[in-house]
């Protein structure tokens, strides 16, 4: 009797110990989750119902102050605010500019990062190390300073313009155009992408590359079939973070871009402040959110696929 009791007790206590640890872990994770729910989740929900026309409760004062507020006429709200944004003559131009700049920036940044990372992986050496160190410089420059510097560099009295003047040629003034915005976003997005992709490339074992070379594979074949697939997750991370970051950017388009069309980040600030139309600015924010979710879905798919291939799930 005593023996089986003791055995039973030992098993029970082992179960209790596991239960105790997982209970402890649960309570440790509650504060950060609560903070995220309260300070990020709740405002998002409030903003979403504000865009649908729920103007009572916490949204009462912003509805009092704003102009062109559409209040709900059904139990589920109203789409009038969304309609007014879609009917705005500037909106689709701004949306197209935003998506275009994000796409171009991501493609250029990925190309440059892949090129530099592959060069460093295959060739190595001093030149590659110096180049990578140089590309990390934008990481240490605050974005406002960078935007101001790029503006001074490309404006009517800037470096290229002055240089070409000496030879009697005309270099276009790039500030207040979408080209300057693209230059700015590429400049600021490069460091993160290079860090991710070069670290992904460095983790590819030498043996695989050398075996492929011994088997007679050409350089492009090695890159296409070995290096890129093995560094797939870091490449996807770099691509999605660059695209989502550029989509919501404000400082670079504000300093360097045209008044219209501009990127949606600047438009949201304009609608919230000087135009005093907060509901429309919230609508635009959710449209960017929807676009970013598409990219986020791609990111999740890539990670799940990679986990499945490596047998983690």
């Amino acid at each position: 009797m005593t023996t089986s009791n003791e055995t039973l007790n030992k098993e029970n206590l082992a179960v209790l110990k596991t239960a105790r640890l997982s209970l402890f872990g649960f309570f440790l994770s509650v504060p950060p989750v609560l903070i995220i729910l309260l300070f990020i989740g709740l405002p998002i929900v409030l903003a979403f119902i504000f865009s649908l026309g729920f103007t009572s409760g916490p949204n009462r004062i912003i509805a009092l102050l704003g102009q062109e507020i559409y209040t709900k006429d059904n139990w589920w709200g109203t789409f009038d605010a969304y309609k007014s944004v879609f009917n705005d003559s500037r909106f689709f131009g701004n949306l197209r500019t935003t998506l275009l700049v994000s796409f171009v920036t991501t493609v250029v940044v990925l190309t440059m990062s892949l090129g530099l990372a592959i060069y460093q992986r295959i060739r190595g050496g001093r030149v590659a190390a110096v180049l990578i160190a140089l590309t990390l410089v934008p990481l240490f420059v605050p974005v406002v300073i960078a935007a101001f510097a790029i503006r001074s560099f490309y404006d009517g009295t800037g470096f290229f313009k002055s240089l070409f003047e000496i030879f009697g040629m005309n270099f276009p003034t790039l500030t207040m155009t979408t080209y300057a915005v693209a230059i700015g976003t590429i400049w600021t997005s490069l460091p993160f992408s290079i860090l991710m992709i070069s670290s992904g490339m460095q983790s590819i074992p030498d043996a695989l590359i050398e075996t492929a070379q011994d088997a007679g594979a050409g350089f492009l074949r090695i890159v296409r079939t070995i290096m890129i697939p093995l560094a797939f997750v870091p490449i996807v991370i770099a691509a999605t973070f660059t695209a989502i970051g550029v989509m919501g950017s404000f400082t670079i388009p504000y300093f360097l871009g045209a008044n219209q069309p501009t990127m949606l980040g600047v438009e949201i600030v304009n609608f919230f402040g000087p135009y005093n139309r907060p509901q429309q600015s919230v609508v635009m924010a959710f449209i960017i959110f929807a676009a970013a979710s598409v990219i986020g879905f791609f990111y999740v798919w890539a990670n799940v696929r990679s986990a499945k291939l490596s047998g983690k799930i």
Binding site: E6, L13, R20, I61, T177, G273, P274, N276
Partner: protein
């Protein structure tokens, strides 16, 4: 093993052995001591006489307050320290208004005792504490019409938008709006104004062009209330502005984003003529960031807008006495001299004859009672949005 033993071991596993060994009395003693220590270290509530001042404007006003007004005031009244909160160009005006309105609705302290910013909006909504004029003796020197326009706010400084021109390249500047528009088309790429959403100088230019196609009654109604019917008449003015796209700086329908960007273009010589705030150009000339060739002139028919900046005391403020004291001091000749001289170069709200003659030598010809007032802020918001849809990039 008894049931009680099992329960004890379960409890031990849940909360750890060391804690179990602590006797309840020890725990109670520790908690009590902690309570006393924490309770004792909370400082007694001090009747704070600090004046919390919220400033929504451009950086030159911030410099005026930080470098001249606050130090002088605190020399005279050291028991009322002034705490400055700065919001550049009113970027967060919506939140500030929400804070003050919310405080009034929930009967709480708004965190602001005195505000220089969207005061007429607050006054129109009944959110301001209106001091009895008997409590503000210096207000007797301020013109009545300015006080009426304040809707409960008290004016303390003024500025107006003027036309700045590079006298080296522009020998005879245009003196009225019509000849300005002719000059712009005759000299492509040499004029610009900032987007109205970004700064008051461009906003004044846009409003003036729109007003040139409105009757005086229509202009008055836009100044006094939100009027969508009159806004329809802006179409002609926007058409004129759209036609200017090919002739302004860049000649591609792009405009600088704020007041300072326009001043930068002017100082680099990229444009020859631009609308600027009187105080900003005077400060830039004095500081040497603007070439000495740049001069200013006030155009007519209609003139650019201008007017006073207003101070308001939110009705739930906890330090109304201090705020009133500061307000009264700002209307005194000593404070008005600081506003006129020094780095700000603003316009005073009391008669020039009461000021220091040396400091006020340059401003004696501007009568602030005749400055054209800007629209009500709701109409300005609509104007900003309508301009952005009608003009740039077209």
């Amino acid at each position: 093993m008894t049931n009680y033993d099992q329960v004890r071991r379960f409890r031990t596993y849940l909360i750890g052995e060391k804690v179990m060994k602590f006797k309840v009395s020890k725990v109670a003693a520790i908690l009590a001591t902690a309570g006393l220590v924490l309770g004792g270290s909370v400082p007694p509530a001090v009747a704070s006489k600090a004046i919390r001042f919220h400033l929504s404007g451009d950086v030159n006003v911030k410099d005026l307050w930080e470098k001249s007004l606050i130090p002088e005031f605190n020399k005279l009244y050291p028991e009322y320290p002034v705490v400055l909160v700065f919001d550049r160009n009113g970027a967060n005006d919506a939140q500030t208004l929400a804070k003050i309105i919310g405080a009034k609705l929930t009967k709480r302290d708004p965190g602001i005792d005195l505000i220089d910013g969207p005061v007429t909006q607050l006054g129109a909504a009944g959110m301001l504490y209106r001091a009895n004029p008997g409590l503000l003796p210096n207000i007797a020197n301020v013109p009545r019409v300015l006080i009426k326009n304040g809707r409960g706010g008290i004016p303390y400084r003024a500025s107006t938008v003027l036309l700045a021109y590079n006298s080296k390249n522009v020998k005879s500047p245009p003196r009225d709006l019509k000849s300005l528009l002719v000059w712009i088309k005759a000299n492509p790429g040499k004029f610009t104004y900032n987007a109205p959403a970004g700064g008051g100088s461009g906003r004044a230019f846009v409003q003036t062009v729109l007003d040139s196609n409105l009757s005086p009654g229509e202009i008055k109604s836009l100044v006094e209330r939100a009027d969508k019917n009159v806004q329809v008449k802006w179409a002609k003015g926007f058409e004129i502005l759209r036609d200017l796209n090919k002739f302004t700086y860049g000649q591609n329908g792009t405009y600088p984003t704020n007041n300072q960007a326009t001043l930068d273009l002017l100082s680099k010589g990229l444009v020859d003529v631009a609308p600027v705030w009187s105080d900003m150009i005077a400060s830039a000339l004095k500081a040497g960031t603007m070439p000495k060739d740049v001069k200013v002139i006030a155009i007519t028919g209609p003139s650019f807008t201008g007017g006073p900046a207003f101070l308001g005391i939110p009705s739930m403020s906890t330090n109304r006495d201090g705020a009133r004291l500061l307000m009264n001091w700002l209307l005194s000749p000593a404070a008005q001299n600081l506003i006129v001289a020094g780095s700000m170069n603003g316009l005073p709200v009391i008669p020039v004859s009461m000021l220091d003659p040396v400091a006020s030598a340059n401003i004696s010809d501007i009568d602030i009672r005749t400055l054209r007032p800007p629209y009500l802020s709701a109409n300005h918001s609509d104007m900003n949005a309508a301009w952005a849809a009608a003009v740039p990039g077209k």
